[in-house]
């Protein structure tokens, strides 16, 4: 008879294996879905998962998409490790774009070299402000940060809509919703001509490395893990819960805000009603897929970015609606959670005697 019993140590093998298995299962499920939709599964799978990786332009597009995902997910991983559930990263992303981009719009004629770093800083601050709200409400009023941060997403989206249709609308934009384009001094320079790779991606790459170092080697990282694992023990070790909630929310808010302003400045060049294909939510999946480990997040970000690009291509080439990408992401998370069990338990054969009714 098969039984599950808890493991005595964490299994590193299982930790790396479960995301892989989840991926494989998702591909299999995808095949089934494509067949059901009357598409050629092999060709469609290729478009989705492999085509983006075979050309330079494909790779650069993947990198462009992966950047914000990795940045946001890295920030989220701190909170999730600490048991602080920041689901509103999407809202913090938008606020980062609004505050940073707002500065760029305000100084739309400037050529000052300080403008670019300033808007990046403003972006981080914008994201932090938006994350400070759930932090405050949780620590002062015990309000659930999941619901508060989520409500703030809807509010942020509406705020952006209001601003780009209203007070910030480009007077030379022929009525299209959107702000003026940012001045060159506020745009992240591209380092690879012909592609859209800008320096913001370098920032996105360094974040996981820094985060890995923080979590594994510093006392702060230890405290974060401690707080998430055993709050009473954390208290016993002198870790204040208020401080921890604030710090983790501000970190994730700041990084999400940074991602937002980078996207607005580097990839888009202005503020529009739609500056996020749901990065804030997808980043949650990236964080889990990467098992909250910075290196894993880097890989997971690339994988998810591939499905984004693949999804766009599939829409054009195979006529598949964009929504399939969202579906895949949900499915991959489901499989990951299902196989998560294996990392904590192992299967054992036992010789239990069969019970009968008394």
């Amino acid at each position: 008879m098969l039984r599950l019993e808890p493991r005595a140590t964490h299994s590193v093998l299982a930790a790396w294996l479960s995301p892989l298995v989840a991926l494989v299962m998702t591909v299999i499920t995808g095949t089934v879905i494509f067949i059901a939709m009357g598409k050629d599964p092999a060709a469609t799978l290729y478009i989705y998962f492999l085509q983006p990786l075979v050309s330079a332009s494909g790779l650069s597009e993947v990198a462009v998409k992966a950047g914000p995902l990795v940045l946001i997910a890295t920030g989220l991983s701190f909170g999730f490790r600490a048991g602080v559930w920041n689901i509103g990263a999407e809202g913090q992303y938008i606020l980062g774009a609004i505050v940073g981009g707002g500065l760029a719009v305000f100084f739309h004629d400037s050529t000052n070299a300080l403008l670019l770093p300033s808007i990046l800083v403003f972006g981080i601050v914008g994201g932090m402000i938006w994350a400070a709200i759930p932090a405050l409400l949780r620590t002062r009023f015990n309000a659930n940060e999941i619901l508060v941060s989520l409500m703030l997403v809807y509010i942020a989206e509406l705020l952006l809509v209001y601003l780009v249709h209203g007070p910030w609308r480009n007077p030379q934009g022929w009525g299209f919703p959107g702000t003026r384009t940012f001045p060159d001094a506020a745009v992240l320079p591209i380092f690879f001509a012909q592609h859209r790779l800008h320096w913001g991606l370098i920032l996105a790459l360094t974040a996981p490395l820094l985060a890995w170092f923080l979590v594994a080697k510093t006392r702060f990282g230890y405290r974060v893990r401690l707080f998430g694992s055993a709050p009473l023990a954390a208290r016993h070790a002198g870790v204040g819960s208020t401080r921890m909630i604030w710090m983790t929310l501000l970190i994730s808010g700041g990084l999400a805000g940074l991602a937002g302003v980078i996207e607005a400045s580097g990839t888009i060049g202005q503020l529009m009603p739609n500056i996020s294909p749901g990065y804030g939510f997808t980043a949650i999946i990236v964080a889990f897929l990467g098992r909250l480990h910075p290196l894993g997040i880097l890989l997971a970000g690339i994988v998810i970015a591939v499905t984004y690009i693949g999804g766009e291509n599939a829409q054009i080439v195979a006529g598949l609606p964009k929504a399939v990408t969202g579906l895949f992401q949900g499915v991959i998370l489901f499989y990951l959670l299902a196989f998560d069990l294996v990392t904590r338990y192992r299967l054992v054969f036992s010789r239990a005697s069969r019970p009968e009714h008394a």
Partner: protein, 307 residues
């Protein structure tokens, strides 16, 4: 005067009804100790499949049944993952919402723009007579009455029936319930499925009665508001009614603000329900003691029996 109040109350009740269904379902689910954040996803699934069912069969009530059933199915995915495979409830609920959003968008893509025969009120007054008190009591569509009925039935079930007592016990201490011999997993499965049923109905109501059409993401966060309502109600069904009606009232203010000519931009007005949700949460949660005493003690904790 009646001209204004009666239509407002009617709108308030229809706006409240999807919340009543979704929040009541989630309340029962949480009372058993399971936190299902996938309400938004389940509502969207109920909405899209309900709409498709109505389009294909031509009967909105068939659509309702299809929507309800699809809600149950969606919730079962969650139940299998969290109850059998002991996965993290917060993450799984989020996954369900993301999945439901994607699935509904995909499945509904071909149905945007379709129209159906909506669920109609039972009693429609003669248009010449205008609004009347009779309409106030009898003029709602059947789902409004059903929602109230279900809510009252749940209140009675939880406080007076044996199985309601057992459900509460499971949410209070799953280990104790297991030690006594109750099938904790099965009871929670049933509670989660009920939550899915209610969310599916609530979502189907949106696409079959409230605004009889399908659009991506049409629940616009109502699932999340329903979750907040459960907290607001301190896990007591009758209070869910007050909360839902409160949100119904906010909807009316939102709709009428332009008519009244308040001059507030539409986007800002649309923020109202979300801001209200935050305020409501702060109000209720700030009394930490009260939350601790009313929230099911096992809420969100995975059940790992010693065997």
């Amino acid at each position: 005067m009646l001209d204004l109040i009666i239509p407002s109350v009617m709108t308030m009740m229809t706006a409240a009804t999807p919340l009543i269904f979704a929040a009541t379902g989630e309340l029962v689910c949480e009372k058993s100790g399971v936190l299902n954040l996938g309400v938004e996803g389940m509502m969207l699934i109920g909405a899209v499949f309900g709409f498709i069912g109505a389009t294909v069969t031509g009967d909105p009530y068939m659509g309702l049944i299809v929507g309800a059933f699809s809600g149950i199915m969606a919730s079962l995915i969650f139940a299998i993952l969290t109850l059998l495979l002991v996965s993290n409830q917060v993450a799984t609920g989020l996954a369900l919402t993301i999945f439901g959003t994607g699935l509904s968008a995909l499945v509904g893509a071909n149905y945007v723009g379709e129209t159906i025969d909506r669920i109609r009120p039972l009693y429609v007054p003669n248009s010449a007579d205008g609004p009347s008190v009779a309409q106030l009591f009898f003029g709602h569509d059947p789902m409004v009455y059903l929602g109230l009925l279900v809510l009252l039935a749940c209140a009675g079930f939880l406080s007076r029936s044996r199985w309601g007592m057992i459900l509460r016990a499971v949410g209070d201490s799953d280990q104790s319930a297991h030690a006594i011999g109750y099938p904790v997993i099965q009871i929670r499965f049933a509670a989660v499925a009920f939550g899915g049923l209610m969310a599916g109905i609530g979502g189907a109501y949106l696409s079959l009665a409230y605004t009889p059409l399908w659009a991506e993401n049409m629940s616009a966060g109502r699932g999340w508001i329903a979750l907040a309502l459960v907290v607001f109600a301190s896990w007591r069904p009758i209070r869910v009614l007050f909360g839902a009606i409160l949100f119904g009232g906010i909807t009316i203010v939102q709709l009428n603000a332009q008519a009244i000519g308040l001059g507030i931009p539409g986007a800002i007005m649309s923020m109202l329900p979300y801001v209200a949700t935050i305020l409501v949460l702060v109000l209720i949660s700030s009394n930490a003691m009260r939350v601790r005493l009313n929230a099911p003690a096992c809420l969100g904790q995975p059940f790992r029996p010693e065997r």
